[in-house]
């Protein structure tokens, strides 16, 4: 059974286990966000909604919003803008990039899969490119969900996402910032995004993997 809490709700007496989404006052743990309590291990409140805060090592999907030599400025669905330094590309055995040529490699509105290299106290975010730099090519669709729902879409040890990929016949890439890239046939993409929508809506309920499996099987037999 899940328990929904709102900011200020008492969660636990065990201040030592207080984790994300909580604060401690006079030895008691209270919720800071509106969400569901998870007390396996650390006591956390998994928020229903919220913005992505970049953490070093995360893989995220970004969109180029500005080119300002020698950086590409990237929107990563967070309150803060991030940047990719030109050297991220030229060090990859490439040729020298001239001042005006940056948009030939990554242009405005291009989607990139990037890794967060560093976040400093002033929230300057440096990104590094993954091998397959463009992801927004070909028949695909980008959807955005609250980043707190990402673990649920992936499932325990990737069980949920593996099932989705198999049954929808799609390539699905789930990034830590809540952006999901789905590639495949139009019909399959539609199904996959509908199922992901259902997962985000019911993320706080139990037995979700089974229900998703059922839904996917029923769609299969209809076809």
């Amino acid at each position: 059974m899940y328990k929904i809490v709102i900011p200020g709700d008492f969660v636990s007496d065990d201040a030592k286990r207080a984790g994300e989404g909580t604060y401690v006052e006079e030895g008691k743990v209270y919720a800071t966000t509106y969400g569901v309590v998870d007390d396996k291990g650390e006591i956390r409140v998994v928020a229903f909604n919220g913005k992505y805060l970049p953490v070093r090592g995360d893989v995220v999907i970004g969109k180029i919003i500005e080119i300002s030599f020698p950086y590409w400025i990237v929107d990563i669905a967070s309150p803060y803008e991030a940047r990719i330094h030109m050297s991220e590309i030229s060090t990859r055995g490439g040729k020298r990039i001239e001042f005006g040529d940056m948009n030939a490699i990554l242009d405005l509105d291009d989607l990139v899969a990037v890794k967060v290299l560093n976040v400093d106290a002033l929230m300057r975010i440096d990104l590094g490119l993954k091998e397959d730099l463009h992801i927004g090519r070909g028949n695909g669709r980008l959807i955005e969900v609250p980043p707190t729902k990402v673990p649920r879409i992936i499932g325990r040890k990737g069980s949920m996402i593996r099932m989705l990929k198999d049954k929808c016949n799609c390539f699905i890439f789930v990034a830590k910032n809540g952006r999901i890239w789905i590639k495949g046939k139009t019909k399959d993409i539609k199904l996959a995004s509908e199922v992901i929508l259902m997962i985000t809506k019911e993320a706080h309920t139990s037995g979700l993997t089974d229900r998703v499996a059922e839904l996917l099987d029923s769609v299969k037999t209809e076809r």
Binding site: Y23, T33, F48, V145
Partner: protein, 249 residues
């Protein structure tokens, strides 16, 4: 202003609209009514109809107003031109600028601003229909909308007005009582801790009346808090998809 005695405020222990001294008007709360806002809330307090939308945390503009240590809260209280009997001239005026500032400061103590340095949390409160006590309705709505947006907070803020009409201290004034009464005192507080985050007073109260009013307000804030809480908890039993954004490429 009408002369005293022209309106009979209290009749057989009841007020002009039939309420008792310590009775709130009807409250209705809907959470997540706006699809494109990060968090939203529609709030009704009697004939007051208020819509609150929260955006962010997101990038702060103008840049020079950023705070390197914590997020900046922006609050805009705005009355629709059709919200009052005589058309209100649209746009900010002296009164709405003051209310925006006061409301922002009422919510500031609960928002954990240091979680989002340099960012802005924007709260927009639109008064669709007004019947005295819109600032308290606005604060209640904004508090729920902030929670809905997933903004980290220490607690919720609840707000209500007390006042003095016909020589009696009463709760939650309506338009007639507010306009022709003797005093009006809006209060915002963290209901569970009885911590006051905002208090204004228009008119005069004696010390005893003030304390009596404060007690009424504290009790009423508890009631409002429970309604805010029920609205938030009840939301996830409903089928809804406001959090989902779809962008085809």
């Amino acid at each position: 202003m009408k002369k005293e005695g022209e309106i009979e405020f209290i009749k057989d222990g009841k007020r002009v609209d039939g309420r008792s001294f310590d009775e709130l008007r009807n409250i209705k709360i809907d959470v997540g009514v706006l699809k494109r806002a990060d968090g939203s809330c529609y709030f009704e307090l009697g004939n007051n109809k208020v819509l609150a939308a929260v955006y962010g945390p997101r990038e702060m503009h103008p840049r020079h107003a950023q705070d390197a240590k914590m997020a900046v809260v922006k609050f805009r209280y705005n009355m629709a031109p059709f919200s009052v009997d005589d058309r209100k001239r649209p746009g900010p005026d002296r009164r709405s600028v003051e209310i925006s500032k006061v409301s922002r400061e009422a919510l500031d103590p609960v928002i954990l601003r240091e979680y989002y340095p340099k960012a802005a949390i924007e709260v927009y409160v639109e008064i669709l229909q007004s019947d005295a006590g819109t600032r308290t309705a606005g604060i209640n709505a904004a508090s729920v909308a902030l929670a809905d947006a997933g903004v980290p907070m220490r607690d919720l803020v609840s707000s209500v007005a007390v006042g003095k009409v016909g020589g009696e201290v009463v709760l939650d004034l309506n338009a007639v009582e507010d306009n022709y009464g003797e005093a009006d005192m809006p209060i915002a507080m963290i209901a569970r801790r009885n911590t006051i985050t905002a208090l204004q007073m228009d008119g005069n109260l004696t010390k005893d009346e003030f304390e009596k009013g404060l007690k009424l307000a504290m009790k009423a804030c508890q009631q409002i808090y429970e309604l805010q809480r029920t609205a938030l908890i009840g939301r996830y039993d409903k089928d809804e998809s406001a959090n989902f954004k779809d962008r085809s490429t």
